[in-house]
Symmetry: C2
Subunit: 471 residues, 2 copies
């Protein structure tokens, strides 16, 4: 048989397995070497077969992991729509809804699609524990003393070093450590705003950011945000004269999944620099990318030090450690004062543990596994939603992070649907939680950083059924 | 020899040793049993001799510890004076001075009378480390997960139980855990005030509280405070119509050392209750008392739940752990929301370690030792200051905590003196740091929770000399 026909034959066999459902979206393909042995062909022939399948978007390669069935990427479901800029519309905080959803957080019988955390099965808990024991032995004063307010030097050094993954040129002096990324945001906001000021944010937006900004007596302008390219720059331009700061989740936005293209990031930074408006950038999902490279944050294009780049390990390693950081640019001294005033210093132990974890390559290693797990979950979710949710369901296509944003038929009210779902022990985050206006009532956020097993799959199918029943 | 003469004879011998300087203020006397053996007399005779010396204020007993030379208590030095209420005087924050003093905090060659922390030699570091290892083994998810925002249940339970030491009737539901007492204050302030409101505080006041209140956009009224009885209630009455909240360090105030008498506490709580004004009470020194009982906080007299009682182990166990709490009374739900918005949750590990330390009696045991050490240091400081500082030095006489407030000759400017002292590797906290007005320029705060050794003693003597040279 001719080589060309050979590779096509193999490709066809695999394609049939995919279309028949033998191989499901998210499944891992056998390795090149395994396929080679099965069909007794050359490695190049297998590679060519895989290339053929990849060109048809049937499979996708994950760096250093292998090939996965990626049929979900060719999703027939549309993207969620972008809303209009609402400048004069009345505000109404979604507090009651948030409280209701929070109240079910600790119930372990509920399938928690609502949480914004990584399932503990994906965290390197045993390795972290070893780190704690090791650090405890070597830590000066065993971590009982105060640290300088800027934070642990080893953590700052490693976060700075880690910035090479996105072409960053940070050094340890540029970083201030915080109690998680949310705390970094708080310090940043308190550093560059006064009560009564207005902040521009993406819409929909993580409700924690909404609540924090409101609690500081600040006003909010929600900017329309595209599910792929992120914040609408034209709308940002319109509100520049009104705002004191801008706050963006530029990479794998929670909840909408957008990742701003580099040229957009550059343009936003240039715009804000020109108007002397600080950009608070929450980059806590940047390390969880499905592609080949970590997307750069806006900070990478920050020539005038106006970007306050915030991050943490709460989404990748240990939420409970409360370890985060900010590179506050030219606002550093003022921000350190804020931290000093509010909490004096951060506990050194966990900062050292995380620094050590990064230093010795364990963070990098863990991230590879985590990304593969999350990517596979993402494909499983896409496939299940495509097969079991109504056909007019719109869905985001994030290239990283671990949340999906769904826009359902306009007749569906997800706040009401929540009450029904919770009776079936299924929880999700209704869209209304992610805005201060009366919108996104037919939307929901699903967390796919849960363990993918039969229970999860059935819960997701059931959710689709419940939506269909409502129509 | 007759019994009466016998006990007097022993008392006279010891008295002569004290007046000759063989026994110095702060020194521990031999135990009753030792003295009994030396003089071959009955225990009762020794007890009578000690009573005689106690009646002359030459020695003082410390519960479960023994007798100490306490001649310093009969100090010839006067108490610092109380200032007038300043309502119209201009404000000027002492930021530059604070920064200057903070810059020398980490220099280990400097004798740090300026710090507000306990020397690490007084902390039970080895025992705490054991606790960390133990807890780490048993902690759910090894502490990597988020906790409910109200905080760790075991810590809340133990803090509530511990309140029996001051007749408190708190239960675990009354407590919210925080990142140190300062953080508890921050949440409390943000819960009951809005920017532009006015807060009444003691004067002088710990500069961290001053800075925090200002950073929230609040105004401050400094209330005259007596070095023994605390805040002037008459002045508080005058400002009631102007204030939104009151913030007091009722027990062993930092820096002035006052401990409000119970009747004052009761009166203040009644007054504030009547006017519906929340009292934020920072009780972080209450467990470090020199007398026989822990002084009650204002919270003990709080019938209408208006007192937000804040505490921590930062002064007694481990500053770097950042473990604190607040019993926010009727403002609990609002305060939990503040915590949730700002940091989501606190790391569980250290909270569990402290809870375990309290639960198994180790906190109680450690406090006994710590109090004895600090009391002895206090006597050493009193004696050295009386002997080596100018005669017109006024000095506080705190019955707990670990700071002294000195008022020097009006010609002395302690901000200038600081520059001279630091050249001699001695640091203290100039009085101007503890007020927003132009006052206390001839005052200083000294931390006596330092290791008492020859270097410390010489530094303190040198400081006295430097002051004398300035006159």
């Amino acid at each position: 048989m001719q080589k060309e026909i050979l590779y096509l034959k193999i490709a066809t066999i695999i394609e049939e397995q995919i279309t028949s459902g033998t191989l499901k979206t998210g499944d891992k393909l056998p390795s090149i070497r395994t396929v080679q042995k099965i069909y007794n062909v050359s490695i190049n022939t297998v590679k060519q077969a895989f290339l053929e399948l990849e060109s048809k978007s049937l499979i996708a390669s994950r760096p250093k992991s292998g090939y996965y069935v990626s049929r979900g990427f060719q999703s027939n479901l549309a993207l969620p729509s972008m809303r209009q800029l609402k400048l004069s519309e009345k505000e109404k905080a979604p507090e009651d809804l948030i409280s209701k959803v929070f109240n079910t957080f600790t119930d372990k019988n509920i399938t928690q699609f609502s949480l914004g955390v990584t399932d503990k099965s994906m965290l390197p808990i045993a390795k972290l524990n070893k780190g704690v024991i090791k650090i405890l032995r070597n830590l000066e004063d065993s971590g009982t003393a105060y640290e300088p307010a800027q934070g642990n030097i080893n953590l700052r050094r490693n976060v700075a070093k880690w910035s090479f993954t996105w072409d960053g040129h940070l050094n340890e002096e540029d970083i201030v450590t915080t109690s998680g990324a949310l705390n970094a945001l708080l310090y940043s906001l308190m550093t560059v705003t006064n009560p009564g000021d207005t902040i521009a944010i993406e819409s929909p937006v993580y409700f924690g950011i909404l609540q924090m900004i409101k609690s500081l007596g600040l006003h909010i302008i929600e900017l329309p945000t595209h599910p792929v390219t992120g914040v609408a720059i034209e709308d940002l331009k319109k509100v520049l004269p009104k705002i004191k700061a801008c706050c963006l989740v530029s990479n794998f936005n929670n909840p909408i999944g957008s990742c701003m293209p580099e040229e957009n990031k550059k343009e936003v930074v240039q715009l804000l620099t020109l108007h002397n408006i600080p950009l608070i950038e929450d980059d806590l999902y940047g390390d969880i990318f499905f592609g080949t490279n970590r997307p750069k944050p806006c900070k990478a294009f920050d020539e005038e030090e106006i970007v306050m780049w915030c991050g943490s390990v709460s989404k990748t390693l240990a939420p409970g450690y409360r370890v985060g950081w900010v590179a506050p640019g030219k606002f550093k001294e003022k921000l350190i004062r804020q931290k000093l005033i509010q909490t004096l210093s951060s506990p050194p132990l966990y900062q050292e543990v995380i620094a050590d974890f990064m230093e010795h390559g364990r963070y990098d290693h863990h991230l590879r596994t985590l990304r593969n797990t999350l990517y596979t979950n993402y494909l499983h979710f896409q496939r299940t939603i495509e097969n079991h949710f109504p056909e007019n369901t719109k869905i985001s296509k994030p290239q990283g992070g671990f949340v999906l944003w769904l826009e359902l038929d306009p007749k569906i009210d997800t706040a009401l649907l929540y009450d029904i779902a919770i009776q079936h022990k299924i929880s999700f985050a209704p869209g209304r939680m992610f805005t201060q206006h009366d919108q996104y009532n037919n939307c929901m956020r699903l967390n796919f950083a849960v363990k993918w097993d039969e229970k999860t799959e059935n819960s997701l199918k059931k959710l689709g059924q419940l939506i269909k029943q409502q129509l």
